[in-house]
Point group: C2
Chain length 158, copies 2
DNA sequence: TATTATATTGGATATATATGCAAGAAAATA
DNA sequence: TATTTTCTTGCATATATATCCAATATAATA
């Protein structure tokens, strides 16, 4: 029996630093790091640690620590969901605005990518540290923008 | 094909009002309410809604809405986890204090239950709306208190 | 230290959850 | 309205996750 306390700590570290999509993936990492355990134990650990599995908004899943709160992706309720990736946190539409939230520090870079598209439908973008405001021309539909963003914001609900 | 928007709304309502432990349980409720769907669809809904499944701290699981944040149950890190139930949210120990968080409105009632124990190890309790402060006598160990609370706070990590 | 109670874990497996595929709606467009 | 494209869903099933049981270790106590 190895050291549980240490393992628990390591799990926290891993989950807070990289995106984990399944217990299997996390297990592999732990094994590589020299921890010796099975999926059964990992499942128990996650349960006790109250670590949750949640849709990442991008067609995949992600494990999150308690306390970290998940943004509601899309308030335009109905219709299907929308993009996300690794830096992606959420996207919302309202009138001729689109607000994209990113992990801290990414907003500027992503905004540049969006600008590079030089899409007519986009009047402009303004980016802070973790938020991008995309201003659309009047009459542009949500779906149009999604199409434009499709290769910046990876997959859409696979 | 029924109305998706309405169903999504209903799911939110249910999850925010009662404790859901599995998709199966939620599915049953929806079916009873007249919604017509399968587990496959529900799984997709939850994924898109970013609703997460997380250990309830009591040996079971609970589905939570995005935004609701999960309290870390137990900061005394190491050692195993601790209790929880239906009103239960979290428990923390520090020195001769124990703080129990509950769902809103429950603190008073639970505190009465604790008082009713008339345990020597407990100097007294103070309850707000969703938080109970339990003051222990010096030298009382965490485990002792857990034993006392055992039948108020259901199972311990089954 | 011996004894008893409590925790931790893996293996195997049950259970729960996710998804590929195809079919039937709904919406957009011609 | 006819046609094309996009959604939504169920079914069957793959995949992922949780848990029973038994073994072993650890801690508590005598």
């Amino acid at each position: 029996m190895k050291n549980k306390t240490e393992r628990i700590q390591k799990i926290k570290e891993i989950i807070s630093s990289i995106k984990i999509e399944s217990q299997g993936q996390l297990l592999d990492i732990l094994l590589e790091e020299g921890y010796d355990l099975t999926q059964a134990t990992l499942s128990r650990d996650l349960k006790r640690m109250r670590i949750a599995k949640v849709g990442d908004g991008c067609g995949g899943y992600s494990y999150i620590l308690p306390g970290q709160n998940v943004a509601k992706t899309l308030n335009t309720s109905h219709s299907s969901s929308v993009p996300a990736s690794n830096w992606f946190v959420s996207i919302d539409f309202s009138g001729q605005f689109c607000v994209i939230k990113t992990r801290p520090g990414y907003a500027g870079g992503i905004a540049l990518d969006i600008d590079a598209k030089e899409a007519d439908q986009i009047m402009g973008t303004i980016a802070g540290d973790d938020t991008i405001l995309v201003i659309l021309r009047g009459g542009v539909r949500k779906k149009e923008l999604i199409d434009i963003l499709r290769d910046i914001i990876p997959i859409i609900d696979k």
